[in-house]
Amino acid sequence: MSAATTMPAPTAPDSVAATPVVTLLKRLQRLVTINPSTLPTAAAIVIFVGMIIFGEIAYGRIVQYSTLSNLLINNAHLIVIAVAMTFVILTGGIDLSVGSVIALSSVAGVMLANSGLPAVLVVVIMLAIGAAMGLFSGVLVRYFNVQPFIATLSMMFLGRGLASLLSTEPERLADDSPIRALGTQIKIIDGPKVNDLVVTPGVLIAVVVVLVAFFLLHRTRTGRTVYAIGGSENSAVLMGLPAPRTKLLVYVVSGTLSGVAAVIYTARLGIAQNITGSGWEMDAIAATVIGGTLLSGGFGYVLGSVIGALVLGLMNVLITRDGGIRPEMTTIITGGILLAFVLLQRVVIRKRE
């Protein structure tokens, strides 16, 4: 996890609310019996809750404002790209360019901001860079029938290369840049000691992204077309759905959201570099798969991907808290969780057959 960060360690009373957990589990169980395709996502939620409970018991100070706030703040960008990846994977595609687009977008953004461009314009350009890269992939996939893997792989190299052309040094965002405002912490509840409920504008942006994505996927025809393409592209076309257009659109969405993630991440860290975000596309894919989205397309939920991103983030927190686990183990544990989920999905598919 490249997004690993250490937590401040405040102390506070803890309160594991047992009854909400039980009702949550019961609800999930009901949902799963009606629609088995929600099982992997439900399992992700159960594991997430399980991890929280385990962390609280083993290390303490997990279920408290500051820890949970930091979990969101540190993973807001990951949540956004997990949502982006969900769109693409739902159609049965993949977007490997996410990390590189973030690198290009953030390096370009910081350099433009430092050259004196107004912050609003910089943010717009950062999003536009993402959208343009996504459009490029989408055009390759739609009009030239290039495999999504190859199309986005070439965009991945292109983006990384362009970012390196711009600069190979870490570019620091000026301390007085208005962009940093997106990373400032806003106290909502002032808890005892440093146990505060804190959000950043970046977290709010991520929440808005999740809500809009949910609306788009579940309440618009475009969103349902995304699912239909994942079920069978051929059928979607013959049903008269605008499948080719929608296929292009998901890459634009993914690219634009990569731009959003670049803004959130840069605002928080204040540094952009050409190696920023390397491997993040894999984190996003992992989050999406852990969240229950089928790589073959057609099944999955945005909410699941959010949980997937949080599972990855929480895992980092727990490993840091433990102190005894070597950081190298992080990737192995990520791999293990991923494998467990893929196997779970296999079981679900087999049942359906």
Binding site: A228, V237, G240, L241
Partner: protein, 548 residues
């Protein structure tokens, strides 16, 4: 019902593909409130005409009039908005979404907060109700339905957009008799409501049962348009294949003559108590050289399952198979192949041809597999196999380097047959070799089978068309509910009706107080209780099939 104005009129439609004139100045009329059958052999241009009408293929020349207005469609969506809806042979729905969504996709009811799911599902239920499917829970995944019900859901989809024209492209090829009846009831009802229905099928009986008017195409050309009463079956076939029927009618006679001789030869294959749990109950069987053994039974009766055991495609978990007097176990297809047993699958598209390879490569495949990949078949031998099989089976077009997916179904089937013949088998198992192919190709395949048997090859012939089984087989094994229920030695007095009666009568007294009408042996079960995708359990229904 001579309506003055056709709802669809196509004039002088031409479509050219590289090297082929798929449609040549074809005209077609469709009137409201009629079922119009589009007839022709495979490759005659039926599918192309449909795709031209629905906007999948752009037309090179000609005009399409819908309700008197000239239209040009640029895709299915265009055609749909003009009220033309199509249900294809392979059900084109998305199994990952719910039943309701499949009905409404692209036409969801929208409100201020995006799609209004409650109203959408209500509209879906209304559309389903027109086909008496309103008992289905629209919130369940489509994958819980049998293929037949999915087919009806696809038609409901057309109803949801108030289609004036409904195109049904081979809707019956994967349905059993009761399901076909159900479909026809729906079609008649829609016709009476004024919907114009374009119907494509290879089953002549069905065409004559349901249609009011027929248009015949041949080699991309318009041949004739007649009312059903004006055309006899013989005439229709003659029009379709463009020659008289001597090939077809001479076939049955040949077979009967030499049938009883060589009867007591040593069996090539003897199966004792061969079975597989959930697929086929222990079965005894003998197959002699030069004999054609027909497997008769309904879809899902266990005929394919039994055949797969004989070949080794599935491993039997009971019983013994004796081959040429020696006990053998067949664990996988390679075992079967090594012992010179060949099996041609019923699933031509998915398990048979390799679409992206050429005809030549498809023909060689089995021979090469038998030799192992380390020893390529010499070029001379390859060329010989290709040229003899292609001319022998009359594969058209006679170009071995064409991709097989571009061939018509009948010609693909001939290539498959050729592939197995090239392995020089002693036992050839043909599962539904004539399904979905036209009369001409059918006759050619039947002829080839009869000839093989005359040369001493043992053939297992599986077909849903009982007439075909009766015409071709020396002995008929009758299966029902995963069990062999009888064996008939064929003779002049044996008819398809006898087999139907046998199937219908068997177990009727135990399961049902009164036997169902013999013509529809499956008619006693409601449509929803049948599942072609899960033949292992005839009682599976979409409402009871729980998933956990």
């Amino acid at each position: 019902m001579a309506e003055p104005a056709p709802v669809v009129e196509m004039r002088g439609i031409s479509i050219e593909f590289p090297g082929v004139k798929a449609l040549d100045e074809v005209g077609f009329r469709l009137f409201p409130g009629e079922v119009h059958a589009l007839m022709g052999e495979n490759g005659a241009g039926k599918s192309t005409l449909i795709k031209a009408l629905t906007g999948v293929y752009p037309i090179d020349s000609g005009t399409i009039l819908v309700e008197g207005e000239q239209r040009r469609f640029h895709g299915t969506a265009d055609a749909q908005s003009a009220g033309i809806s199509t249900v294809y042979q392979e059900v084109n729905l998305v199994t990952n979404l719910t039943i309701g969504e499949n009905v409404m996709l692209g036409h969801e009811v929208r409100g201020p907060f995006g799609v209004n799911w409650r109203a959408t599902h209500r509209a879906a239920t209304e559309a389903l109700a027109r086909l008496h499917l309103d008992h289905l829970d629209t919130h369940r995944p489509l994958s819980t339905l049998s293929i037949a019900v999915q087919q009806l859901v696809a038609i409901s989809r057309a109803m949801a957009i108030d289609a004036k024209v409904l195109i049904l492209d081979e809707p019956t090829s994967s349905l059993d008799a009761a399901e076909v009846d159900r479909l026809f009831t729906v079609m008649r009802q829609l016709r009476d409501e004024g919907v114009a229905i374009l119907f494509v099928s290879h089953f002549l009986d069905q065409v004559f049962e349901i249609s009011d008017r027929l248009t015949v195409l041949r080699n991309g050309q318009f041949i004739c348009e007649r009312r059903k009463e004006e055309l006899s079956r013989q005439e229709l076939i003659a029009q379709m294949i463009g020659k008289d029927l001597e090939t077809l009618s001479s076939l049955g006679g040949n077979r009967r003559a030499g049938e009883t001789e060589g009867e007591r030869e040593e069996p090539l294959l003897t199966a004792v108590g061969v079975g597989r749990r959930g697929a086929i109950e222990p079965t005894d069987l003998e197959i002699r050289p030069g004999e054609i053994v027909g497997f008769a039974g309904l879809l899902g009766s266990g005929r394919t399952e039994l055949a797969r055991l004989l070949y080794g495609a599935d491993k039997a978990d009971s019983g013994t198979i004796t081959l040429r007097g020696r006990k053998t176990t067949l664990k996988n297809p390679a075992d079967g192949l090594k012992r010179r047993i060949a099996f041609s699958t019923e699933n031509r598209r998915d398990e048979g041809v390799v679409g992206d390879l050429t005809v030549r490569e498809n023909l060689i495949l089995a021979v090469q597999a038998g030799r192992g990949w380390a020893r390529p078949v010499p070029k001379r031998e390859r060329d010989e196999i290709v040229s003899t099989r292609m001319s022998e089976l009359n594969v058209r077009p006679a170009d071995p380097d064409r991709l097989i997916k571009n061939l018509s179904g009948g010609n693909q089937q001939k290539v498959l047959l050729g592939r197995w013949l090239a392995t020089d088998p002693d036992l050839l198992i043909l599962d539904e070799p004539t399904r979905g192919i036209d009369v001409g190709a059918k006759a050619e395949i039947q002829e080839a089978v009869a000839e093989l048997a005359a040369q001493g090859v043992a053939v297992v012939f599986i077909s849903s068309e009982l007439e075909e089984v009766v015409r071709l087989s020396d002995r008929i094994v009758v299966l029902k509910d995963h069990r062999k229920i009888g064996e008939i030695v064929n003779g002049p007095e044996v008819t398809a009706q006898m087999i139907v009666d046998l199937i219908a009568a068997h177990g009727a007294d135990t399961h049902h107080p009164s036997p169902p009408p013999p013509a529809q042996p499956a008619g006693n079960q409601p449509l929803s209780a049948r599942s072609t995708s899960a033949p292992a359990d005839p009682a599976v229904s979409e409402t009871t099939e729980e998933q956990s």
